[in-house]
Subunit: 403 residues, 2 copies
């Protein structure tokens, strides 16, 4: 089985472009071939009217109920940064920020700092606060991840991040068991300023007239729910090919083998052909391969119609390469994790088109992969959590329930 997720590719009609969606405007013979040879439909990735995040959406596409599995963004970012969480950990997404005095934030992104964060992170990671270990790792630009590991932690604490310039807040417990975590979190913020304010990287930045990355603002506290690995849940060897850290983290959280593809950046410059090769190779050793391409979402957030069309056409070339060498027995599903309409420049609740074809799959009259064509296909209107079971059924990998 192969699941291809074009991140945010789903859209709405755009007046200035002949009332077409980017998918309707793009030339995409490979995507249309999947639609022509299989069954199509539309999909509420989480539920009708719910705007999916990339994290909750992918959980649903992997068959996990995001309302049960999801506790904050921290753990997902941590998984994405390659930190393997254990039960009891509390994880936060963080920003390196600029503060005058360790209390007042003047720039929440430290001038979108691009280099030196690895050294700054190293200075923080490995600290101990009371009996709890601090694991800290840099992400892209000003982003980072904090994991607290030790006894008696609870993620239900209030925010320290003011989410704008201003005073740093004091974290308070939001549940009776969370006093210790709130206390450690406040202490971590204080210590981060102590450690970073005079760090070499910041002395250099000061010389260059750049804002110092002299404090860390954690947010999005969460702990790992117990996610049963896909191998156990479905009896499938699963592999994930993705460029962007968040999605990689989700793959790890559900126990996929994450295939590192040099050149798969998660950006607009991602190496599509390297990804195609990685997918074909993974299919030889795995039952289920997941491929995420982030670029359409980026074009959607930018509100750039022409860029989104261009990105779709690049993905289509990659898909063409994959389809050419794909064993005919492989069940292929093509879909999106959410809509990122040009007119909205953010995720929306509009359902996404989905099309599935395989060896002896049913074939409906849909001949194109887009929001309108797919909606009248034989798949009907499904939910994200239904997709993997439907693929397994078509691939004859589902067990009989009953006699």
């Amino acid at each position: 089985m192969l699941l291809v997720v074009c991140d945010g590719v789903s859209d709405r009609p755009v007046k200035q472009f002949d009332d077409k969606t980017p998918l309707q405007a793009a030339r995409k013979p490979a995507m249309d071939a999947i639609a022509r040879n299989g069954i199509s439909g539309i999909m509420d990735v989480i539920a009708p009217g719910v705007v999916p995040g990339s994290d909750t959406a992918h959980l649903a596409l992997f068959g996990y109920d995001p309302y049960k599995a999801y506790t904050g963004r921290g753990p997902i970012e941590a998984a994405g940064a390659g930190i393997s969480l254990v039960k009891g950990d509390v994880a936060f997404r963080c920003n390196f920020a600029t503060s005058a005095d360790g209390r007042h934030v003047t720039d929440r992104r430290a001038g979108r700092i691009r280099s030196g964060t690895a050294a700054l992170a190293k200075a923080l990671s490995g600290m101990k606060i009371e009996d709890v270990d601090v694991i800290f790792k840099e992400g892209s630009e000003h982003r980072a991840v904090l994991v607290l590991r030790g006894p008696g932690l609870d993620h239900r604490v209030s925010e320290v991040d003011p989410h704008s310039e201003g005073e740093i807040l004091r974290s308070e417990p939001l549940s009776p068991g969370a006093e210790k975590t709130a206390r450690l979190l406040n202490e971590f913020v204080r210590m981060s300023h102590e450690v970073l304010a005079d760090h070499e990287v910041n002395r250099d930045r000061e010389k260059q007239g750049l804002p110092k990355a002299d404090i860390v603002l954690p947010r999005g506290a969460g702990s790992v729910g117990d996610l049963e690995p896909m191998s156990e849940r479905y009896g499938l060897r699963c592999a994930g090919v993705a460029g962007v850290t968040l999605v990689k983290g989700l793959c790890r959280m559900v126990g996929m083998d994450v295939i590192d593809v040099p050149g798969a950046t998660g950006g607009l410059d991602t190496d599509y052909m390297a990804k195609a090769k990685a997918v074909l190779q993974s299919l030889e050793t795995h039952d289920f391969v997941f491929l995420n391409v982030k670029a359409p979402d980026i074009a959607g957030h930018d509100g750039d119609f022409r860029l989104k069309v261009q990105v779709i056409e690049s993905i289509d070339m990659m898909l063409g390469l994959i389809l050419k060498d794909l064993h005919e027995d492989v069940v292929v599903a093509l879909t999106a994790d959410h809509s990122t309409p040009i007119s909205v420049k953010d995720h929306s609740a509009d359902p996404v088109p989905v099309t599935i074809s395989g060896a002896d799959s049913r074939v409906d009259s849909v001949r194109k992969y887009d929001e309108i064509s797919a909606a009248v296909g034989a798949l009907g209107r499904i939910r994200g959590m239904d997709l993997l079971p439907i693929m397994m059924g078509m691939a004859n990998r589902s067990a009989k329930f009953g006699a």
Copy 2:
């Protein structure tokens, strides 16, 4: 957002009228314009195969699960019997039963009594016990509904029904506030025997050698729950424009501003133009306006095809006026709360057509608003509870779940 509910407008094909439904036969340019500019589908207002009442249907259309909004089966049976419950009521489903002496049950179904129960119910309904009113209505065969209406009631009382032949139980309070209800319930059972034992219907049954329906056994106590107002649940200022009392009552239950429109009678003579004006005015001060027109349901209950067509054409003129002055950003949904087919003369479980259009809504190939055309539209088959979330999504009023 504007939600227009044409009460009971949905129908089945009628042989004598060229196998058309009233919606297919009517001239309705405004309704068809909404369909042409948006996406259509069919909707199971509650669930497939469930015949909606107007009360449960509207609860679902406002996004409330009618199975949760009501506690216990009693209120649902009461709604089914056409009794409109208000907050504080306690409702029971009941059996007419046979008892030797008012204490010992010999037949829990009074020989599955088939006739005369309306007269028996009438003898019980309208009684007063202490300061509480008794509303009692027969159902099919031996079934009936009891509603206690008055101050200080609580549905948490134990059963009187032995659920087999034997001694009638004494109801006891299951919570500290339920003493009064338990006392009244025991008293009602005693009085039911007193009133029914010598009733004319039972004297006749005795002559025919049939078991007397000489006592009532209530069970399944329940009350109407506290519904979270729509303003809090969705963050929307909501207004309702309706003529008929039941629907107005439901609007109040969910915290809508109920707009009183002089001349909006809820009947066939309702002042459509006054309603149109009220809708347009309400849209200036509210995020979500709900409009109910009762007349198609009345024509359906009468089994009058021509009248239903005529009513549809009147509603269409009203919609035309509304659409002419409507801001293009308003997301408009047009649907029904249930089907009231000419051939059935009552509500049916047939799904209803639904069409939604708005500023940059997707547009499918459906060009007419009717039961058959809508069913192949891009909305697919949805449920009543999905409608409001879908409208909110299209109006960009939904919050993101996740990152």
